[in-house]
Every structure is written in structure tokens, then in C-alpha cells.
Symmetry: C2
Subunit: 390 residues, 2 copies
């Protein structure tokens, strides 16, 4: 049976805290702030919501608060709230689950939240903890960190495809340039190649300014079925979703320069989007997972935007710039915005909602019609790709 058109899921509202070190706020305050803002933007009252999905990765580990959906229910006074995990891809997974609930008519209007509060920890602990999204027994327990694994991936990509330090740097420079125009971004300032070269080495060849910082943030979306969305001027419809996975541990992969999770997710998402006549060439811009600069380059390749190995060149030629042929991370990406793990996937969707409705201010992409978000976990263990249309 084909899913009826009227059951398609749409975004009709969005809100967010700033991404920052929110020492004065707990999880509750951040949830409250982002959700109020999202509901206001959709002109929807709490009582009109019939489901809530909350994405989170570390509330148990960092904040001692397991049962995050119970906390959301309590804070918002709502009944039907489900917690979605998935490491740093949790946000995009939550959007897929909300879409399923809407398409199965179990929900008419859903609130989708991504929240993470990571700053209540010394930086040494946080490095260990974020590495728990990699394989614990084979990788993390041996002392491998997320950055060290990405360093190996980066070196191999440089060796195999001639990807250069300059190209890696240009990813960060572009994303900071875009973030400078994004009011929620934690790192709203431009950087130059010299800043990167002077920034501390994290895991050779990855420097601080090639890396997305852990952050505190909460993002929220209001999603609804086609019938309700019909009454809204500003909206974004989900045209396809895809979830992919690879070997979790980097050493088990045949080719560590490829994210097989991303190519699988891309294939699955575009197979769905094809039903609406959308092809990869139609995508106007994309938000991708640049937790480290090499991540953006590999993502560009494995989503299918550029030939394998040419992601660095794609960046260098300016194609991914805000005025390029396929703007990548107009929001500023994880690098510019900061990376509160489970909030990131929702933030990407918020950017899509703003851009497709021409509400992105100075970082507005020119007349976008179709958009793609790519949210991955760990070193590419899993990936979720969502495709949107106006």
C-alpha cells in the first residue's frame, strides 16, 4: 500500500536555545525554553499536541537523569512522550519516529525535542564520555577517543585521495563564516587559516579548529500531518528518510575513508524521495555532520554529491559556500554552532525549515526548494538522512 499523501509529515514550527555553556540552566529550563519558542512559532498550544519525541544521548551518563521522556512530560505537562537514542544522530532518529507516528495516524501534531547538557563535566571526562558512542569493548576501552579515530580516517583520506590540510581548513573557515550569521551558534566568529594552524593539536592531523565542541543546547520542532500543515504558510515536508549502519569499530571496516552508513542511508532516503520525483541533483543545500572537518568531506562524497575522493576539491572550489552551487552547512554546521549531541539533528532540521521558507536572514541560500540533512553517530557507525521539500 502506498502511504497516502495526506499522511505526510511536515514541520510547521521551530525553536531553540542558543548553543553555549549554559551554567545557569538545567535540562528542564533548556527544554522549556526551546519548546515554548517552537510552539509560539507554530502558534500551537500545548493541549493541541498529542505526542512528544525527545532525543538525548548523555542525560544518564552526564546529568544522572535517566528517563528523559518522563522529565519532558513533567516539565511540559504532557502525557505521550517517547525517548529516542542513537548517539549524536539521535535528533534525526527522533524526527523519523515522529514522522512514523504521524504517517500511521497515531499522532496529528507532534513536538520533537533534542536536548543535551554536556558542560557540567571536566574536559578530560567529557573526552572519555563522548568516546562511548564508539565501540566500547574494541575501541573506547583501549583508550581510543573519537578524535583519535577520526585522525586515522583523516590521514588515510589524505593519503588515498590527496586531500589537503588547506581543504580541511576550508571546511572550518566556511562553517565559521556561516555561523557568524546564526544567532543560536556558539562560535559566531570568523576564523582564518592561520588561526587553525595555531590552534592546539588534538590528534594529529586534527587541530582544535577542525573539531566540533561539545555544547549545551535544546532544539524543538512542531510536526504535523498534511491536513493541518495545509493551513500554514511556513512549512517543510519530509519527502524521504533513510537510516544506515556500518561496522561500529573503525578497524573492522574494509575502507576507513568511506562512511558506508551514509551511503546506505542516502540510497534509502532517495528511494523514498523518488516517489515525489526528487533526485539528488535537485537538492538545493545540505546540512551535514562535520563533527571533524574530514566528516564533512566524506559526507559530501558518500551522500553522493561528489565522486569518492573529490570531497576536498569540492570544498576548495567553493561549491559548498553559501553562494556556491550546493551550499553545505549554511547554519555553520557542528563546527560553528557547537555540538550538543542529540540536539544537533534537530538543529539541522530547524535550519532546513528556516531556509526553505526564506527566513534564514544573512545566511539565506538563494531560493531553495529541496534540502537534505545528514546526522551521523560516532565515527559513522550509523547515519540518518532526511530529505525535505518546501
Amino acid at each position: 500500500m502506498k502511504v497516502k499523501n495526506q499522511m505526510k509529515a511536515n514541520i510547521i514550527g521551530a525553536g531553540s536555545t542558543t548553543f553555549s555553556e549554559h551554567w545557569h540552566y538545567g535540562l528542564r529550563e533548556m527544554i522549556s525554553q526551546a519548546c515554548s519558542s517552537a510552539l509560539k512559532s507554530a502558534n500551537i498550544g500545548l493541549k493541541e499536541l498529542d505526542s512528544v519525541f525527545v532525543a538525548n544521548c548523555f542525560a544518564g551518563t552526564i546529568n544522572g537523569q535517566n528517563n528523559i521522556n518522563a522529565l519532558c512530560s513533567d516539565e511540559l505537562g504532557l502525557q505521550n512522550c517517547t525517548a529516542i537514542g542513537g548517539g549524536d544522530a539521535a535528533g534525526a532518529y527522533a524526527i523519523v519516529q515522529a514522522a512514523n507516528a504521524i504517517m500511521s495516524n497515531q499522532s496529528k501534531i507532534a513536538l520533537v525535542i533534542g536536548v543535551e547538557k554536556m558542560s557540567d563535566m571536566p574536559i578530560t571526562d567529557i573526552t572519555k564520555i563522548i568516546s562511548e558512542v564508539t565501540e566500547q569493548e574494541y575501541e573506547a576501552s583501549t583508550g581510543a577517543t573519537l578524535a583519535s579515530l577520526y585522525a586515522m580516517i583523516t590521514l588515510k583520506h589524505m593519503k588515498m585521495y590527496g586531500t589537503t590540510e588547506k581543504q580541511l581548513g576550508m571546511v572550518s573557515i566556511k562553517n565559521h563564516l556561516n555561523a557568524a550569521e546564526n544567532e543560536i551558534a556558539q562560535f559566531k566568529f570568523k576564523i582564518m587559516m592561520e588561526d587553525i594552524a595555531k590552534s592546539p593539536m588534538v590528534a594529529d592531523p586534527i587541530r582544535l579548529l577542525h573539531s566540533a565542541a561539545p555544547s549545551d543546547g535544546c532544539c524543538a520542532l512542531v510536526m504535523c500531518n498534511e491536513e493541518i500543515a495545509g493551513k500554514y504558510k511556513d512549512k517543510a515536508q519530509i519527502a524521504g528518510t533513510g537510516i544506515g549502519a556500518d561496522f561500529m569499530a573503525v578497524h573492522e571496516r574494509e575502507d576507513i575513508t568511506a562512511f558506508n552508513s551514509v551511503s546506505s542511508a542516502s540510497k534509502a532516503a532517495f528511494a523514498q524521495a523518488a516517489q515525489a520525483g526528487i533526485k539528488i541533483q535537485d537538492i538545493s543545500f545540505a546540512e551535514v555532520h562535520d563533527s571533524f572537518s574530514i566528516g564533512e568531506i566524506i559526507s559530501i562524497e558518500d551522500i553522493g554529491f561528489a565522486k569518492k575522493g573529490s570531497g576536498g576539491k569540492f570544498i576548495e572550489e567553493g561549491n559548498a559556500d553559501l553562494n556556491g552551487k550546493l551550499p553545505i552547512n549554511p547554519s555553520g554546521g557542528l563546527k560553528g554552532c557547537g555540538h550538543p549531541f542529540a540536539a544537533t539533528g534537530i538543529r539541522q532540521a530547524i535550519e532546513v525549515f528556516y531556509q526553505l521558507n526564506n527566513k534564514a536572514g544573512k545566511r539565506q541560500v538563494k531560493s531553495p526548494e529541496y534540502a537534505l540533512t545528514e546526522n551521523i553517530s560516532g565515527t559513522g557507525a550509523t547515519a540518518v538522512i532526511n530529505i525535505y521539500k518546501r
Copy 2:
């Protein structure tokens, strides 16, 4: 739009590890064992699955393995796997999400997993950690434990409704009696009232033998749409689901002897089940969340099986016994089986699958047609009720 009949979700296979202290197995081995067994029971190959949902609560906190869906994908070699949280109710939430995926035609055959490995911890740590499903800022951080909160609930219920120690004890005795016939149960032995009275006091009036023990376990279900289920003899169809929430912290509730989350979830689930003509009087048996004995008594009341305050009497009169008018926890419940948090909700559904297909051996309920499962988190912060028919 009414959801078409052909899109209903069904269980067609089930498998489980035993519930135990599995010192020799990691998360991977437990997942592999339960899933192999579930797939075999449905005679389904891995390649026929198009989605996987995994419920988990503590892998990040206890096992240092965040990103549990990536671990499942890796271990099973599957692409489309989503992680569902929800404290000790996570298992039932995962079933709801799989049902939504099937009903929205995003999945035809889904594997639903609940896994928890809790024994790799000293008992003092585990007490602190399981208390993280209560409210961290208001309850857990003050030193309140799950047992101490349930103790207050128990005392108040005794005072308000005359619930007796004998009635509380009879819950445990009945559930151990049933568990003695359940091969996956961790506590496969009968107990007597004297055993309870002699068991250590945990939090007055709760003794060890009123309490479900943390456990290691993995359970898996194969779920599919109506078309595929049509080819199967053994199956259980989901006729209604409901998710409810209450104030998370016990002190915020107007009446601490009631689980408002349970009454909300029950109302929502029966509203759906009514579409199939199912009323509460039609339920043949139920699996409820007896993490502490009082939990079963309050659940019986707030699901709607007995008048408020009469849950203890309901037990004392033998109504909940295996041969009573409404058998409760024929599996042995959380008390008899052990309570590997996120696996419990899946275990309840497995019991329903066995019972409705007359495959429950010596603990078989007589000719059941309709069943209900109730899975709650913390002290009743959230609850999920699923209603099944043959």
C-alpha cells in the same frame, strides 16, 4: 482517516536469554542469543527484516556503551536500527514505535529488542544508578532511592485503604509460584510468607522479597504487518497502545497512592482497542509492573481491573492467581523473572505471545483471547499499556 486493518502490527516470533547474572556474556552475546531465538521461532531470516528497534536504559551508564542501536546493527549486520529509551518502561515504548513503523508502512517486518546488563556493578552503585529513573534534581540527588520512594507509597496505601502486609506478601508468593514454571525466570522457586518476613528490610515496610531484582537479560520479538501475519498460525495482534505520564517526583503528586500515568495510559489504550470492540472486561490476563509488590496492587486499581483501594483485596481473594478470574503476571512478573530494566517490557509481550497461542506450558492461562501489558518507569512517572488480541 481510520488506520486500515491490513496495517495492524502483529507479533509472530519471540526469543529471550534467561534472566540471570550473565557474567560470561556481554551486550553483544545477549543480543545475538535472544535475536537468533526470536528469528528462529518466526522462521524469518535476518535479510527479511527491514527495521530494528532496541530498548535500553543503562548501557551508557553501566556498560560505557552509548549508541546501543549501532551495537545492534553491527552485531546483527542490519542497517535500520533505532534506539528507544524510557527507563524501565523502554521495552513497551519500543513495541509502540515498531507498531507505528509498521502501520505507517515504513516497515514490513521489524525486530524489537530489549536489552539490559546490570550485574557488572556493586550493589551499592546499582542502587544509586537505578534511582536515576526518578527525578534527579528533586529526588535522587537528595539520597532518595527507588525503594525508599516506593516505601512511602506503600505505607500511604496501607494507611488509606487498609492494604495489609499479608496482601503485599501474596503478590510475591503468587509471582514466584508462576515464575517456578517459567524457564527464563531468574527466581524459579516458590516462597512462603515466612520467607518474606525473614528477608532483609530494604526500606520499611518493603523487604527484599517484595522487590524485583536488577538482572541481565535480552528479549526479542519479530513483528510484522497484517498481510505477512496472515501466513502465521501463532501470532498476537496489537489492538491498542497508550502512553501516560504523571509528575516525575512523588512529592508533587496530589495522591501518591495512585499512578496517574497508568490510568491515562489505560484510557488511551482502551480507546484504541474499542475500535476492535475490546472492553476492559474482555481482558483474559495481564502482565503488570510489580517492581515492588505495591506496584502490582496499584496497577490493578489504576488500569481499572478493581476499584481504587481494593487491589490488595483483589489479590487476597485469589482473583489474580493463575486459575483466578483475571490472572496477573502468569510469567512470574518482575519479582519472579528478575528485572533487566528495558528488557522487561519485551518479556511481558513474549508472555502474551506464548499465552495467547497456548504455548505457556504449566503456567498456561485457560483459553485467553485478549491480554494487556503494563510497563511503568520509576515510581510511575510514565506508563505504557499495550492491548493484544489473538
